[in-house]
């Protein structure tokens, strides 16, 4: 197993900057998920680590060895591709043993490793099949098996679940989590799906526009998003954002937007950040819009909204609220028995309230 280090890694296609100075470190035995919207450069970063893409500038180290100019097969990595890339004219066993056969490994060793991987992934009965005779989930397992057989230092997963349907994706997600517990390997996993990122990762790397936005454990990224992008990208339904400005009254900070005004206690926004007249964005997750609750120490003053639409999800319900021209989504326990158009009192949970500077988009409290 191994650690991976990216140092000021840059990638340009002609004049298009895909990656702009990426610095990151992945520790031994760590499961790191790189997440971001499509086109943010996450797959390019992974392919550069695998050696399938040239590095414009910067350095990539695997186990403190510079691999910039090393052939992919020498980097001791294994990659699982989005479209699986199983060789269609080879059986499952041949697919899994291809790398070892190219290396002219002894036959006994090849057999032993293939059997071992097949056992882990429950592929034993499928070893003689052709890829086209397998279902999507089975192909995915073969692709993972092909990686396991090679006993690499680092496993790379490139959006491995995005070609599966929703139900199968959930199953495979659990399978991958189990596999990680069993192999305890260094895994770098690229996805655009924040649910996969939250559930699988030991640490999440959030990327946008070729820049790392935040690195942290899932709960850090969720509870303390470093900027507006991370706050909006992680979490479903999306965080509510309200633009406004801060004003100081009697030494206490007050957030004021066109439609609402909320006192901001010192434990939410540090005094040094609370500058009179500062343009800010208030972020609050739908879970933290407390409907009908009484104002308390942890909740803001009571506010009034009008219910526009409510969506029943089963055990939860999404409420689309309107305060003047401002719209908010609240998530409450089912069943919320009020008709659209009725008045709904709510308050915002101070404990999970986020403030971002409007210009730098960085977190300030």
């Amino acid at each position: 197993m191994a650690e991976v280090r990216f140092s000021k890694v840059t990638k340009k296609f002609n004049e298009n900057v895909i990656l702009n100075g990426v610095d990151a470190e992945i520790r031994d035995h760590e499961f790191v998920v790189i997440v971001g919207p499509s086109g943010c450069g996450k797959t390019t970063l992974l392919r550069m680590l695998a050696g399938l893409e040239e590095i414009t500038s910067g350095e990539i180290y695997i186990d403190n060895v510079l691999v910039n100019n090393m052939h992919p097969s020498k980097r001791q990595i294994a990659m699982v591709f989005q479209d699986y890339a199983l060789y269609p004219h080879m059986t499952v066993a041949e697919n899994m043993s291809f790398a070892l056969r190219l290396r002219k490994a002894p036959k006994a060793e090849i057999d032993q490793r293939v059997t071992e991987a097949a056992n882990i992934l429950q592929l034993t009965k499928l070893l003689g099949r052709m890829p086209k005779q397998l279902s999507g989930g089975q192909r995915q397992r073969v692709a993972i098996g092909r990686a396991i057989v090679r006993k690499p230092k680092v496993f790379l997963f490139d959006e491995p679940l995005s070609n599966l349907d929703a139900k199968l994706r959930e199953e495979m997600r659990v399978e991958i989590a189990k596999l990680y517990q069993r192999l305890n390997a260094t895994i770098i996993y690229v996805t655009h799906d924040q649910v996969e990122a939250m559930t699988l990762a030991g640490r999440i790397v959030v990327m946008n526009r070729g820049i790392i936005q935040q690195v942290g454990s899932p709960i850090e990224v969720y509870r303390k998003p470093a900027n507006l992008f991370v706050a909006g990208f992680i979490g479903s339904p999306t965080m509510n954002f309200i633009s406004g400005r801060l004003s100081m009254a009697d030494g206490k900070a007050v957030f004021q937007s066109e439609d609402l005004s909320i006192g901001v206690p010192g434990f939410v926004l540090h005094e040094s950040e609370a500058v009179d007249g500062r343009e800010v964005v208030l972020g609050v997750r739908p879970d933290d819009v407390l409907v009908g609750g009484k104002a308390s120490e942890h909740c803001s003053e009571k506010l009034q909204a009008v219910l526009e639409v409510s969506e029943l999800l089963g055990h939860r319900e999404n409420l689309y609220l309107k305060i003047g021209q401002t719209r908010l989504v609240a998530m409450v326990e089912a069943f919320f028995n009020q008709a659209p158009g009725s008045a709904v009192p709510f308050c915002l949970n101070y404990t999970n309230m986020h403030f971002f500077d409007k210009i730098t988009e960085k977190r300030i409290g």
Partner: protein
């Protein structure tokens, strides 16, 4: 005014063809649409045979209308029963759209083929052709023409077996170099090189040119005195005496090595087709296979062997089958290079010998039997190829 008359003739011909198609379509439409009506049988059995006989008489055929009428009645009875109990109006549109092409093909292929079989069991040659014209009867000879095909020479001296061997050799050499040459060029063009479109166009030109033009131009280049190739050989031998001492010098291509010349020209002509087909196959291979192979540690040659070649097989096999049939049947190159006035027999393959037997020596029935033998050979080659292609497809 001549041009106007020609246009008028063409339009008239088009009108006849369109009317023919309309009649055929109407005939089938009736059978598809009204198969379950009560009046379906009576109308069809009275109407269509009478109309057909009337049409034949209008053309001056069927002087005695009774026998043709029975024929038409019988076949119409079978057709109506078929439509009533088997077709039952299903897939109406598909068959109506297929009908004109199918009938055109039947007229162009099936009728001549049947006539060819008829000829091959009779004896039509210069001495019997007037008898045939006057009486419409040809002497029946059974299998004698087929025996002749294998025992006598279609030309003046070379035997069938020598021709067959030469043809197989010619086909193998040509297809082999078409595939290897086309594959090599396609691999080069599949890289991201500059001016790719330009190179591709240049390389396809020999194939896009009319074969007559291309072959005659190349034939000129093989001229012993003024051809490019001999000029180059002379200059090379003069510049590097060592080459001359190895015996390299001008060659009498057309008179001493006619088959080799034809082969070189045909290889040059056939490479572009294979290149285009293989290039299409290469471009359809997902690049992630190569990525996976890179990570698995495959070298360039290993990727070629384990990924490229197995994955282009499905496009390559039909192309090779077609190429084999075309090369086996390729009379153009051989006839244009060697066949004209007093040409040599050294370069003849089966089909060019067939052409000469039929139209230079006027042995029509013999040629018909000869053609059927060639057809059988090609048929078996194609079936063999397609079977092996299916087997390859089963594998994946």
């Amino acid at each position: 005014m001549d041009i106007l008359y020609s246009i008028y003739e063409v339009l008239w011909f088009a009108l006849i063809v369109l009317t023919g198609i309309a009649l055929i379509e109407g005939y089938f439409y009736y059978h598809f649409k009204f198969y379950d009506r009560r009046w379906f049988f009576p109308v069809a059995l009275i109407g269509f045979p009478l109309a057909a006989v009337a049409f034949c008489r209008a053309l001056g055929l069927a002087a005695d209308p009774f026998r043709p009428l029975l024929w038409f009645l019988g076949s119409e009875a079978l057709i109506t029963l078929f439509f009533r109990h088997i077709v039952k109006g299903r897939n109406q549109l598909a068959y109506l759209l297929l009908a004109p092409a199918f009938i055109g093909l039947a007229l162009l292929l099936v009728y001549p083929f049947i006539f060819e079989i008829y000829l091959s069991f009779h004896d039509l040659k210069l001495t019997t052709i007037m008898q045939w014209k006057n009486t419409g009867v040809l002497p029946f000879v059974g299998l004698r023409q087929y025996v002749n095909v294998f025992t006598t020479s279609p030309l003046s001296e070379v035997t069938f077996w020598a021709l067959l061997g030469r043809t197989l050799w010619w086909t193998f050499i040509n297809v082999f170099f078409h595939v290897t040459g086309g594959f090599a060029l396609a691999l080069l063009l599949n890289n991201s090189i500059r001016f790719k479109g330009f190179y591709r166009t240049l390389l396809v030109i020999p194939w896009a040119m009319p074969q007559v033009v291309a072959v005659l131009a190349m034939r000129g280049e093989f001229h012993s005195q003024y051809g490019f190739i001999n000029i180059m050989l002379v200059k090379l031998a003069a510049a590097y005496p060592i080459l001359a001492s190895l015996g390299i010098g001008p060659v009498q291509w057309l008179s001493n090595y006619p088959l080799a010349t034809c082969t070189l020209i045909n290889i040059w002509l056939g490479i572009p087709f294979m290149m285009v087909v293989i290039l299409g196959g290469l471009q359809s291979i997902s690049s992630s296979y190569y990525d996976a192979a890179d990570i698995d540690g495959a070298s360039y040659l290993q990727k070629l062997r384990y990924i490229t070649i197995p994955l282009i097989k499905p496009v390559l096999m039909p192309a090779v089958t077609l190429g084999t049939v075309w090369t086996f049947n390729n009379i153009n190159v051989i006839y244009l290079v060697t066949g004209q006035s007093g040409g040599t027999e050294q370069a003849d393959i089966l089909v060019s010998a067939l052409y000469k037997a039929a139209f230079t020596y006027n042995r029509y029935s013999y040629s018909a039997a000869f053609a059927i033998v060639i057809f059988a050979i090609l048929f078996f080659i194609s079936v063999f190829y397609l079977k092996s292609f299916d087997a390859a497809k089963e594998e994946r």
